[in-house]
């Protein structure tokens, strides 16, 4: 028996909790991820879908099934974004996978890229500097020095996987025009893994301080606002704070989801909650960073 997990028509950070709810049922049956009717998936949605595939593969005897989007353009976009290259490892794919090679373009600044170790972080940082400078300074109106800060934030987000997830993960970077949501161009970094999550990672060093209050939400608060780390080294735990500082400086958004909670640095242009608890459980951690085009003063 299989259980169908419907992939939302618009798979992005806003519909992710709906997707997580469909995924969360621990019935033990083989899962079928049905993306046939999916019309759009953001980088956050795509790396989250890969994390779901990995988690389902690791908890069951068989890889889950995945039906690819019926819309040819949507499937081609998933191919260009590098999704199918990695999906074959975690899904039994049904449907005709388009023969397109992952390639960066003016929009796909970094195709979906696995992050397994520090070498991958070096490669990602090198690639993004070369590809994003023109977009960040030319189209988004950020100072030229912001490119390095962007690479720094990306590096820290990726290292979060290497240092804390206990498994590999994925990163993707894309620029696009948010006509309806913001009316401006944005650059989006999406990072996801199916690892142990913040609560488990920090438990040994932080849980006793919180007692009964220890949860996914308090773990995220401790990590983002207090620089908590699973290491006792006082220099550890600065990465997320550094990302938050960068995002704040450029009126961007940072959102970190782990387990049943999500914490966010929310800019004036967004209506997300700073902290949301009681969400449908989802494995690992998912980080979203959005830098919008700067508005002339």
């Amino acid at each position: 028996m299989t259980r169908v997990v419907e992939v939302p028509a618009q798979l992005d950070d806003r519909s992710f909790d709906q997707f997580a709810r469909a995924f969360a049922d621990p019935s033990g049956r083989r899962l079928l991820f049905d993306a046939h009717a999916t019309q759009w998936a953001s980088p956050y949605g795509l790396v989250g879908l890969l994390a779901a595939g990995q988690a389902a593969t690791e908890r069951g005897p068989e890889r889950p099934l995945l039906t690819i989007p019926g819309d040819r353009d949507v499937a081609h976009y998933w191919g260009r974004a590098g999704f199918f290259e990695h999906a074959a490892e975690w899904f039994e794919i049904h449907g005709k996978v388009p023969r397109v090679k992952p390639a960066h373009s003016s929009d796909v600044l970094l195709e979906i890229t696995p992050v397994r170790g520090t070498d991958d972080v070096h490669s990602v940082v090198e690639a993004i500097q070369a590809r994003s400078a023109a977009i960040l300074s030319g189209e988004l109106g950020l100072e030229a020095t912001a490119t390095m800060g962007f690479a720094m934030a990306l590096s820290e987000a990726c290292q979060n996987i290497v240092e804390h997830a206990g498994t590999s993960g994925w990163v993707a970077v894309q620029a696009y025009h948010w006509r309806r949501r913001l009316g401006r161009r944005v650059v989006v970094i999406a990072v996801a893994d199916a690892g142990v999550g913040f609560r488990h990672s920090l438990e040994a060093t932080q849980a006793s301080r919180y007692g009964d209050r220890w949860s996914d939400a308090t773990a995220l608060e401790a990590a983002l606002f207090q620089g908590a780390s699973r290491f006792r080294d006082p220099g550890r735990g600065q990465g997320l704070g550094g990302i938050a500082r960068y995002v704040n400086r450029w009126s961007g958004k940072l959102s970190v989801r782990s387990g049943t909670a999500r914490i966010a640095i929310v800019p004036a242009w967004d209506d997300d909650n700073p902290l949301t608890d009681g969400l449908p459980a989802f494995p690992g951690s998912q980080v979203l960073m959005i830098i919008p085009a700067q508005q002339p003063e």
Partner: protein, 175 residues
């Protein structure tokens, strides 16, 4: 003594890398710096050259600057050379965490102290750096501050090994 970070990065980690990112990379580079320091007299200024470094992330800055200062800053003089604005962001973040300060020269040749610091000490350092060696009375007169407060700030700067004693009083670190 100038210590070129990119050379150390490529010798200790990979000849292909130009960015100081990830904590293991920072640990390896710090190890390379410490090897060079062994041959250096404690009174010599170790000039850490960032001039050819691309991206510097916070984890690497914590190893290459934060931990380096924590472990050797009491006994050695350090000057960061050729730092870019983006490097300063990562370095400042780390220095705030550890409550440390270091002298840095940017790519335009401007010298300043990075890290948290008392305002009187910062003003005194800037004057020493801009106008050359001076004693506490001279600086106090220029800053319109009590000489005792300036003397105290200068001694604090000396304790942090950001200034040295000179025949004329105190001088800012320079290379």
């Amino acid at each position: 003594m100038r210590i070129d970070l990119k050379t150390i990065l490529q010798r200790t980690v990979s000849s292909l890398y130009g960015d100081l990112v990830t904590r293991p990379t920072g640990q390896a580079v710090r190890g390379g710096i410490e090897q060079v320091l062994e041959a250096l007299d404690g009174e010599q200024i170790a000039v850490i050259d960032f001039g050819t470094v691309g991206c510097l992330d916070i984890s690497c800055a914590d190893e290459v600057v934060g931990k380096l200062l924590l472990q050797h800053g009491q006994a050695r003089y350090f000057l960061l050379h050729g730092v870019a604005a983006s490097h300063c962001e990562a370095i400042e973040h780390v220095l705030e965490r550890h409550r440390l300060a270091v002298v840095a020269r940017d790519r335009e040749g401007r010298v300043r102290v990075l890290g948290p610091m008392d305002e009187t000490a910062r003003l005194a350092f800037t004057l020493l750096s801009d106008r050359g060696p001076a004693d506490a009375d001279e600086l106090a007169s220029r800053l319109s501050l009590p000489p005792e407060a300036v003397q105290q700030a200068l001694e604090a700067l000396r304790g942090q090994r950001l200034v040295q004693r000179s025949a004329d009083g105190y001088m800012a670190l320079s290379a």
